[in-house]
Amino acid sequence: MTTLHSRPQLSAPPLQIEAPHPAATSDLAPASSAVLRPEPSLLARPPDPGRAQSPSLVMLVLIATLGILAYANFLLNPSNRGDWLPYSMVLLAESILIVQALLSMWTILSASRDPRDFAFHLARESLFRSREIARDGFSLAPHRWAMYLGDAPITVDVFITTYGEDPAVIRRTVTAAVALRGAHTTWVLDDGRSDAVRELAAEAGARYLRRLSSNGAKAGNVNHALALSKGDFFVIFDADFVPDPEFLVETVPFFTDASVAFVQTPQSYGNLHTVISRGAAYMQSVFYRFIQPGRNRFNAAFCVGTNVILRRTAIDDVHGLYTGSKSEDVWTTLMLHERGWHTIFIPQVLAVGAAPESVEAYTKQQLRWATGGFEILFQHNPLSFRRRLTLDQRLQYLVTGTFYFTGICPLLLLLVPPLEIFFDLRPMNLSTTVFTWLLYYAGFYVMQILLAFYTMGSFRWETLMLATASFPIYVAALVNVLVGREQKWSATGDRSRASSPFNFMIPQVLFFVFLLLTSVVAIWRDVGNGVPTLAMAWNVTNTIVLGSFVVAAAREARLQRRAGRAVIR
């Protein structure tokens, strides 16, 4: 390996000459400290994307594709068509789901190329200059090792954006950020204007920045910091994402390619103790382990606003982070792609954070993401001739823009059994037996679940529950984008005290009551007729699924009340 380097100071890679750091010995060491243990499956360095495409996965994807096509054929067969209203509802919803499933399987199969090329490994080996480190006596202070790309020294700023989070959480993040290997300046960008945060930043050895206005939310906060700092590269961490010490070592070498605008790493979650956070985290890990690596291949991997390192000149090129949207991350990526920049995602967990635990946090997060997606579709159509994007990128942005329609589909599907119960309107022809339907339906959904099981090693019912119960959020996002208004919550403005989850899920509660009453009517009808019907079975299942969401929220509310009482005492 060393023979590849002509520079004398690199006779031995610094990674091996001194070992103050347990994780410094090799690439393959577990990339996380013991304090923050995320899901075990995410802990180890994930399989190389090149190797993730096992022949079995390819086979499963092919079988799942066949299942999807058979199901589509079954739905579209005119002889199976039932009454037009429920039929068109089912057709619309299932078409969206089917198309998105096919596109995401295509993306997953595309993830067969490791973004780390020869230039990356070369740059990684020559990142630190051991002789210089020894000369300056920094051997035991890896956070002060100067970094070089090629022959040029580089400077890095690490931004931690905060907005009223718990100071203990911020302290953990800041401490870890300061300790990153490689010389860098850590900044705490406090939009929460908290003196406690200022003190803890000073203690941890980070700079503290507070601005007078809070224009542009997080993007505005970072842009403000960019005006005051001058590093060649800057990293963004949300207040609750604790970085791994190797973060810079694993990401900075990519910038040896001058067209790379940013390197994004996954969001991984350590807090899987509520139903909401488990469901949300599972959804996320599919995205980060399979979709984003696939998007690499399309040069359409996007920034998610945290755990990312960006090139200052690239961001200057697009006039700072995009402030016109709450989803500044996706929009900034789109602007970069239109300017011809390359973006990279590596499926290697380098920071562990917190998934939304409460209904409130989950709702706000999903609303923000869905709004960003719909904004791209309706305000910046990626298929328009005015966009300077490649076909690959256009397709991937179309997927992004339409993805959250899949979240609205459950609404249509939930309404189909009540239509049959109350109005005797059936989506499918009467001559289609339950077993025929079940066979085709299983061909689609069971294969999707099997695929998820194979790729993720497990399947969480919480994800299914959240996917069913989240449609009001996505409908709200769609309506907000179409009429151009901002979502207002009738919640208390007091951010120190959590507000009840039920403030954010009135539609879900009402829908649950509706389904419950409908189930009662359906059972009464079936008892009268002496024949159980599929509509009744479906409706009861939907009621239970939605009910479990309401129960989870009720449990959360009870814990909140208990915590509230404890504070008062």
Partner: protein
Amino acid sequence: MTWQSRLKLVVGLIGVFVLVAGLTLVFNQRQAQATSRSAAIEAERFPVGTDYGGTVLERFVSENERVLAGQPLFTLQSASLQADLAEGLIKANTIAYSVTTDGVITLTAAVTGTVSDITTERGSFVQAGQVLATVDREGSLFVSAEYVLSSRDYSRIEEGAEVDILLPNQRMVRGTVESLDVETQLGQARTLVRVTSTGLRDGEDNGLVARGTPVTARLLLRDDGILAGVGDGFVDFLRKIGL
């Protein structure tokens, strides 16, 4: 929860309850009726036939012509009739025909109605026993409707039950069940119902009300659900306030 959210929740809950109550009434209404799988207007039909083979001398009427009882329809000349007359085996006049001594028989309409299905022409030979035309009796229109019912629904058909007959032009005519004919296939009662109605008058609605016109017939079943009284009361209420 904030008070605003509580208010929204309560109003929403009331809305959901009202909605489900309304939908349940609709559902119950549907449960108390059966829609025909196939239904058409029919008429009493009187065939015009002859007992003697012979040659048609004259045809006095054409298809779909209205005839009065006793109006001549055809004249035939028949050798065997002549022979029978000579033997004195046959009377000269009945309601259906009149006979002259030279062996010419005049077939007349037995009832007032409309001529249809003429099978013969002037100059052609007809066999003994052949039907030459049919007269659909005026004022005899009824609906023959076929239903496929579960045994439970079949048991809820009542004598003289009301039937809503929907003509192809969306006009609704009231009728009542006159008779039933049932046959069971795979546990389902295939029921043929004869519905009479005073509202079906020949040739109305530009000739739409005629034999063979397809209609939809909705049969009202006896409502024995727990919501029977509520549903009827609600419908009565709507009628009373003029909806």
